[in-house]
Symmetry: C2
Subunit: 379 residues, 2 copies
């Protein structure tokens, strides 16, 4: 095991970076994609299959887990790793984003946020200190500070106020995290919306406080992709080169490729599993909607060169059938296929960066997507 939390860069290629994060529960190869396990399960995929698909780390949601089954309950059962049968690294978010997006009747002030539980209607308080305590109870390897996450567009005043509040909460989280066990780390979160000056102010202030890793938050909340990429372009260089950079809640395969090209190391997103449940597959040839009738008689697998069993062992006709008749197995197989594709993409990027050919890799991957799905054979 790896008692000390650390990050080291293995190689860079332009702004893109390949590295390794060491945690109490093992190594995370970066750039890394973290499947989302909101309620202590990656929806529709067993933990062993998430691992077999190539994941080094998964994400858990503080908001959901503190409501059900409760952080103290999970701690009494030995922590989140044991609870969900995932003995590898786990990052937990702080709950802030879900409080904003999921809960009604919330009250936000300097002390933190109070919201009505969607489960039983009880009022629940989440302060920076409680957010850290909950994540400590869960036993996360990487803990996120509590922040205020706005939907874009928002006024500059709103963005500035939320960013400054998030900075004060960052300091409180850092104090609350002092004395945490070895191999664990607290990350700060850069806010500032789409405003360059505010983003830079946030990044510099966080670096002054000092964290072993930094997230870029408040993106993928409704803004166009070019705005997101511009903010990354402006923010990433303001973060220390020797610390991992995590772009929260992002994104599509194209988002990942473009963000890695701009120096991001970590990602999480529900898209692979959510789209899998809706019949959509991510592949080397772009997204494929298995619900489409053109697959009904197609005997070919989704991608015969994929290392993922589900991608090469079942015909498109079978996947189409499962999706059309709404069988659970369709959601299971497509979620697994999508997670495996995301991990294959990350592994490809890591290899390309290590070999100094990231630019060519990026072009080739884009060509595959743009070429689109292979034409069906006549049957």
């Amino acid at each position: 095991m790896h008692p000390d939390f650390s990050f080291h860069l293995i190689g860079t290629d332009g702004a893109a970076r390949a590295g390794e994060i060491a945690t109490a529960h093992g190594i995370v190869r970066t750039p890394a994609f973290m499947p989302v396990g909101t309620q202590a399960t990656i929806k529709g995929v067993r933990a062993a299959d998430v691992r077999a698909g190539g994941a080094d780390i998964v994400l858990g949601n503080t908001y959901h887990l503190m409501l059900r089954p409760g952080a103290e309950r999970i701690a009494a059962l030995g922590g989140l790793h044991r609870f969900m049968n995932w003995p590898f690294p786990i990052l937990t978010d702080s709950g802030g984003f879900q409080v904003m997006s999921l809960s009604q009747l919330r009250k936000l002030d300097e002390s933190g946020v109070t919201f009505r539980s969607h489960v039983d209607g009880a009022m629940v308080a989440l302060s920076p200190e409680r957010a850290v305590e909950v994540q400590n109870l869960l036993g996360a390897d990487i803990v996120m500070q509590l922040d205020e996450c706005l939907k874009l567009p928002a006024t500059r005043e709103e963005i500035e106020r939320a960013m400054r509040l998030s900075l004060r909460w960052a300091e409180r989280c850092k104090r609350a995290f002092e004395g945490a066990g070895p191999g664990r780390a607290l990350f700060g979160i850069v806010q500032g919306g789409d405003d360059t000056a505010l983003r830079l102010e946030s990044a510099r202030a966080l670096v002054d406080i000092g964290f072993p890793g930094y997230a870029i938050g408040g993106l993928a909340v409704g803004e166009p992709q070019d705005v997101m990429l511009r903010v990354i372009d402006e923010t990433a260089p303001a973060l220390p080169a020797d610390r991992p950079r995590y772009l929260m809640g992002v994104g599509t395969p194209e988002d990942l490729l473009e963000a890695v090209a701009r120096g991001v190391d970590m990602f999480d997103c529900v898209l692979p599993t959510r789209n899998g449940r809706h019949g959509l597959a991510f592949t080397r040839f772009g997204a494929i909607n298995l619900r489409n009738a053109r697959h009904a008689a197609d005997p070919r697998p989704l991608d015969e060169t994929s290392p993922c069993d589900a991608a090469h062992s079942y015909s498109r006709a079978y996947l189409h059938h499962l999706v059309r008749v709404n069988e659970m197995l369709g959601a299971m197989l497509l979620s697994e296929i999508n997670l495996a594709y995301y991990q294959e993409l990350m592994a490809g990027m890591r290899g390309a960066i290590g070999a100094g050919r990231f630019a060519a890799f990026r072009v080739a991957i884009r060509e595959g997507w743009e070429r689109g799905d292979i034409a069906p054979v006549a049957v």
Copy 2:
């Protein structure tokens, strides 16, 4: 592979029998439980995991598959085995039972049954000849005759009429099945409701026609268990000892134990997967409802001695959580646990029959169920 269909008895113990059925796709050890793959998938469980759980054979539903994706479609894709990624034996029912239980606006006469598809509203005809043709297109190793299956209670006149019609359809199915490939077999179905004389007449007439296996149909359709067991007691001895006997649509673990004690060799039932989707586990200690709050803090696995990974690798608290928050993984794990328990029970019965200690096995199994679930430890 086994080009000729055959059945041989390995041992008997009282009326209970252990044997082996050889088919074109491999061996079925009896007594056998067949997981139900209604729409070309055992709900929530991958085919490889159904196999790993101990299944030798699965059941497919003619009614559902002829409507979606269609028997001709599956045949063009290489047959049901390839379609659902299950290269082992498959039995298909004739569609008769589902026509009676699922479809509206049906018309039944000597020629067969016509019904309105629940998928697109089209009128669909199912004759004895078409039922065999569909099952041949699917490529089933064991094909069932078309029969008329009544709900009990019914009048003696109704039962007699349906039984006689089913006999005439049995002859037509046998003619339609002539020339089928090697390693495949057509089974006749004994009808006659809860009437002893009609059951015996049906059994004798079917034996006169001559089939490589016989099913007892029209049970588990609303009658009490003692009526079902009496009918098996009366019917099984009228069937040839050297042919497998299949009790259709049955049942609970107790039903299986009691029916094997009465000379039945094969079973199918949706209970393990349906109950798994509803949070109910079958175990050595009876049925356990994981939704119950007493499991919420219980760190013990469901059954630490089970060979099934899902039964010994996850805490009851975790399974409870998954069921309560309605996560797919709960249905997946409990379906797998239940299928594995059913197969463990069948393997136990086969071993006990072979060793001449079935009576003691039956007592011990019943004691486990009656003892009930182990008390939770204090946490």
